[in-house]
Assembly symmetry: C2
Homo-oligomer: 222 residues x 2
DNA sequence: GGTAGTTTTCTTACATGTACAGAAACTTAC
DNA sequence: GTAAGTTTCTGTACATGTAAGAAAACTACC
């Protein structure tokens, strides 16, 4: 696969499948049976090919997942009305990305890939950086600010969804539960104090609160 | 493995290996050959056992990695001098955890596990929450604040190390590079404006700046 | 000692991602 | 036509995590 999706030169054996077909078939499998059922063999069967043939169109299963996320973002990430006020624009744009990603908790690993995802997400990045600039940050500060926002957002999704995943396929007491049961009040009085409320407090969705705090802090540092 | 590390009742076939031995052997392999060389078969060979025997002492390879991180934290996470001023105490305690984790970029997946890691990390959590309380937050706000700080910290490490990992085992242009090459200046003027500086700007380590901003924002919301 | 019960270990087997080696199906140059 | 070159596809093979169940090594009770 020296040149994936290269301009068709009509040289060599004509391809029977395309990268787009592969992604589309993968999407069908994921939609129908969940991401766990997506294997290279199943995917090959779905499009009537062999597992290794897929590797001429995607470099690895990981890349396939990135493409899937791309595809997902392109279909579901619609541009919302953004408020005029720049600070609020940053919040709303970020929250839109966060909501879209939180709705598709498969591919958690993928969104750790890099700072920006698909082309369709770029518009949101643009809005975030524009908002930060409009608030008076320098371009340098704005890019760093966007990074911080992305760290926070990606971290929230990754931590939250993997924690949830572990909870479902596991009945034994969590590590957290074990640890909190054996707290030494004299050494860790604050944790002891909140121990019984910990589970319910950390179950609350405070993403937006944290985001607002972060953006406030970023703007205050200008 | 109904009761891992249960109180030895001297009933049943006596174990030839212990969970501690398994973790210690795993550590030896990781230290010597890197985390990629850590396979269940290799680990079994290292302690003169069989792969499946390991599964009576750790539930899965994932859990083994969690235990490895635990072990790592217990050995390297030393309690630093913390400043008196509570806001700065939060910063320093968090930064200590972050530094320790950033130094051990294997097990990225692990640290997404849950909000707190090993018992040795609890002291830091205590300090963070105590600092937030001392700044005037309610217990509820303090726990939420700690969560936000953890999201940001975990996100920074996960995003940064997986991006680095991808860069090393991959020579082809990054997705980011491809995307930034084809920016439409009329639609995405801000990105166009910073495009050439993007790589160097995002390479800078701004973890502490972002952390300070986040903590500032959290405290301002009180 | 024998039988049952319990815990740990071993053997075998399978699903998965993917490396490697060619075969197949084309185009271009002669 | 044939040979060479290029791209795509196929078949085989391997390393890995781990499920399932049999076997082993012990204790407790008779």
């Amino acid at each position: 696969m020296p040149q994936p999706s290269a301009p068709r030169t009509s040289l060599g054996r004509p391809p029977r499948i395309s990268r787009e077909e592969v992604v589309a078939a993968a999407r069908r499998i994921v939609d129908a049976d969940g991401v766990n059922r997506l294997t290279m063999r199943r995917l090959a069967a779905e499009i009537g090919s062999t597992p290794m043939a897929l590797y001429h169109h995607v470099r690895s299963k990981d890349e396939l997942l990135v493409l899937l996320l791309d595809d997902y973002a392109a279909r579901t990430l619609h541009r919302p009305e953004l408020p005029e006020e720049p600070r609020e624009r940053v919040i709303v744009a970020t929250d839109a990305i966060h909501s879209a990603l939180a709705d598709c908790p498969w591919i958690v690993d993928v969104l750790t890939a890099d700072d920006l995802l698909s082309t369709s997400a770029l518009w949101f990045v643009e809005q975030i950086i524009d908002g930060l600039l409009a608030c008076g940050l320098t371009p340098r500060q704005a890019v760093h600010g966007y990074r911080a926002i992305w760290y926070y957002t990606a971290g929230e999704i990754v931590v939250r969804t993997t924690a949830a995943r572990r909870r479902t396929d596991d009945d034994r007491p969590t590590y957290r539960e074990r640890v909190f049961g054996e707290l030494d009040p004299s050494e860790l009085p604050r944790l002891e104090q909140v121990a019984d409320r910990w589970a319910s407090l950390t179950a609350e969705d405070t993403y937006l609160d944290g985001l607002r705090a972060l953006v406030d802090g970023l703007l205050a540092s200008r």
